[in-house]
């Protein structure tokens, strides 16, 4: 049983951390609600309309495209820092990586993901 004690500690600790994060805010924070505080914040302007407006589905595509470049940069940054150590093979590998991502981009552009509608 003693060997399982650390596991019980992990599970207990996980439950504690989640519980603490969810409830500490409620316990510690002062709550003095007023109508003005309850309004949606729109850079100081009085809010107009409902926040449940419909967004164009295009934003979803743009976000996905952003992800393509985001992932690219995440890998290319460390590669660029250590470029000399990786040498020619590293250059070829990075080229393949960029080429694969380019295929995704070309596909999306040809399918009209960036066309203004």
């Amino acid at each position: 049983m003693a060997t399982w004690f650390p596991i019980a500690v992990i599970i207990g600790f996980a439950a504690f951390v989640v519980g603490a994060m969810v409830s500490a805010n409620r316990i510690l924070g002062p709550r003095r609600p007023s109508p003005v505080k309850g309004q949606a914040f729109e850079c100081g302007n009085p809010p107009s309309g409902s926040a449940w407006a419909r967004f164009s589905v295009r934003f979803y595509l743009i976000a996905i495209l952003f992800l393509v470049f985001d992932v690219e940069v995440v890998l290319l940054y460390p590669w660029a820092v250590a470029i000399r150590r990786f040498g020619t093979v590293g250059l070829v590998d990075a080229g393949i990586f960029v080429a694969v991502l380019m295929v995704a981009l070309i596909y999306a552009v040809r399918r009209g993901a960036l066309d203004p509608d």
């Binding site: 060997t3 650390p6 596991i7 020619t88 093979v89 295929v103 070309i106 596909y107 040809r110």
Partner: protein, 501 residues
């Protein structure tokens, strides 16, 4: 100098991954070509996909006999990998043949369909070749994410969206378990390389440590979801029923074979030291999976749903083999997967052929009287049902025979008794399909014009189901060689244990 370096890199590390690389390049070619073409050219894209997969199968076949770790042991390339590369490429190619007239008929987006099919295939191949825990995860996810989207690709059909969503939510949840298991196993052993983990677990102190056991349990749950073992099977019937039929075939055959490829290599080859721990868990999983799969299949009127439960039941039989562990059992499971794959692909090919244009339905009533109008189709379906049932001399019988006798040899008598009882139960629901086709009267049906691709797929499935069963020697040899090369034991030893009965 540059060309020399590139040449060296190609020689050293690229040749073993040629098959998945070919599939990945084909996927990119499909995306580039498909975005130029209109949707009416979907058949051309299908043939492009097919040729890429055929080339990959050839590459894999040419690599038989070479045993080398690639990418610092992240991928293991041996005959086991080559076996699954071939099996997966052939299954995916058969699915393409089923899709050739299905995709335009349901107006599915063909470029995405074929690109996703290929990327799922890459994931399956990586999973089969995985030599470390990260590649297992990567392969599983590449495969699963592609198949989630494929299940939901019939956007106008709410059942398809439901299938995709259910598969995605439960699949993502199970991946969490797998990843947690990987993290714990890494934490306990200090390595993600299967080879090093296996060596670290030789010490009995570590093998009994709670971290290792918890990690192992989490990984069993993760893989249990992917192979649809009871009690992790809840997504299977809805996903199989709602997905477009060729995608269901891919899930039942490709995803299942690949998941078992990774699962089998992990447990039987690299974690035999923990057999005392996972053997008991697999025993229970196998018993539950067989019994629940077969009993619930009895009540199904939708043939796709029935095949879903049948796929669960067959996962149970395979788990019986894995529970037994050892060379004979490992080879028997590989052989079993071969027979299972072709019988299932054939059954789904018949369903694709029978599905009507206006309202795709695949209930038993839809199959009613098929023998009168389409005697060839009905005979083929009967053959596949008999093979799944396990009737000699078909592939399904020989597979079951080898798996069960390997389990008997290992001393799992009660599990084999249960498996045999389950086989008897299963005859009822497979026979119902045959009765529906041959005895029942059916409504007038208007079938789509069948293109040659589908007939080729049917012919291949029929031939394979018969040949693999009637003359099992070469395929037994193949399975024994594949497993022996993965386990690093002599092929003759596996073969002797295999043919002893």
């Amino acid at each position: 100098m540059i060309s020399g370096t590139i040449g060296a890199a190609l020689d050293a590390s690229w040749r073993p991954v040629l098959a998945p690389a070919v599939v990945a390049i084909t996927a990119m070619a499909v995306m580039l070509v498909g975005s130029r073409l209109g949707e009416e050219d979907s058949e051309g894209l299908g043939w492009l996909t097919f040729s890429g997969l055929a080339l990959a199968a050839l590459c894999a076949f040419a690599a038989v006999g070479r045993h080398a770790p690639a990418f610092a042991g992240a991928l293991i390339v041996d005959d086991y990998t080559a076996f699954f590369y071939c099996l997966i490429a052939v299954c995916a190619a058969m699915v393409v043949l089923l899709s050739l007239d299905y995709v335009p008929a349901l107006e599915l987006p063909s470029t995405e369909y074929y690109a996703l099919l290929l990327s799922a295939t890459v994931g399956m191949m990586l999973l089969a070749a995985a030599g470390d825990l990260i590649i297992i995860f990567l392969g599983l996810e590449t495969m699963s994410i592609s198949v989630y989207v494929m299940a939901a690709i019939a956007r106008r059909d709410p059942r398809s969206s439901e299938a995709g969503l259910k598969y995605f939510l439960l699949g993502a949840f199970s991946t969490g378990f797998l990843l947690y298991g990987i993290a714990l196993l890494y934490g306990a052993t200090g390595s993600i390389k299967l080879e090093a983990i296996s060596r670290a677990l030789q010490s009995s102190a570590l093998a009994a440590s709670p971290l290792v056991l918890l990690g192992l349990a989490m990984m069993l749950i993760g893989f249990g979801f992917k192979v649809a073992a009871v009690p992790f099977h809840a997504w299977t019937p809805d996903a199989y029923e709602g997905a477009p039929t060729p995608v269901t075939a891919l899930m039942a055959v490709g995803v299942k074979s690949a998941a078992f490829a990774g699962f089998l290599r992990l447990l039987l080859v690299y974690l035999p030291a923990l057999h005392a721990q996972w053997g008991g868990a697999l025993w229970v999983l196998a018993a539950l999976t067989m019994s629940v799969g077969n009993l619930v299949a009895l009540a199904q009127n939708n043939v796709k749903r029935m095949l879903a439960y049948s796929a669960i039941a067959h996962a149970g039989y395979i788990l019986v083999g894995m529970t037994a562990a050892g060379g004979a059992a490992g080879a028997a499971v590989l052989y079993y997967l071969l027979g299972y794959a072709f019988a299932n692909l054939g059954a789904f090919a018949v369903l694709v052929a029978v599905e009507r244009v206006e309202q795709p339905g695949t209930t038993l009533a839809d199959l009613g009287g098929l023998a009168k109008g389409q005697p060839m189709l009905a005979a083929a379906m009967a053959l596949f049902m008999l093979s799944l049932m396990g009737l000699p001399p078909l592939a399904g019988f020989v597979g079951k025979f080898y798996v069960f006798s390997a389990a008997l040899q290992a001393g799992y008598v009660w599990l084999v008794v249960l498996a045999a009882l389950n086989s008897v139960i299963s005859t009822y629901y497979y026979a119902r399909v045959i009765v529906a086709m041959y005895v029942n009267e059916g409504a007038e049906r208007k079938l789509r014009a069948r293109r040659p691709g589908l007939s080729v797929a049917l012919a291949v499935a029929i031939a394979a189901t018969i040949i693999i069963g009637v003359d099992p020697r070469p395929y037994v040899e193949m399975a024994a060689g594949a497993y022996a090369s993965a386990a690093g034991i002599a092929r003759s030893g596996v073969r002797a244990a295999f043919l002893a009965h």
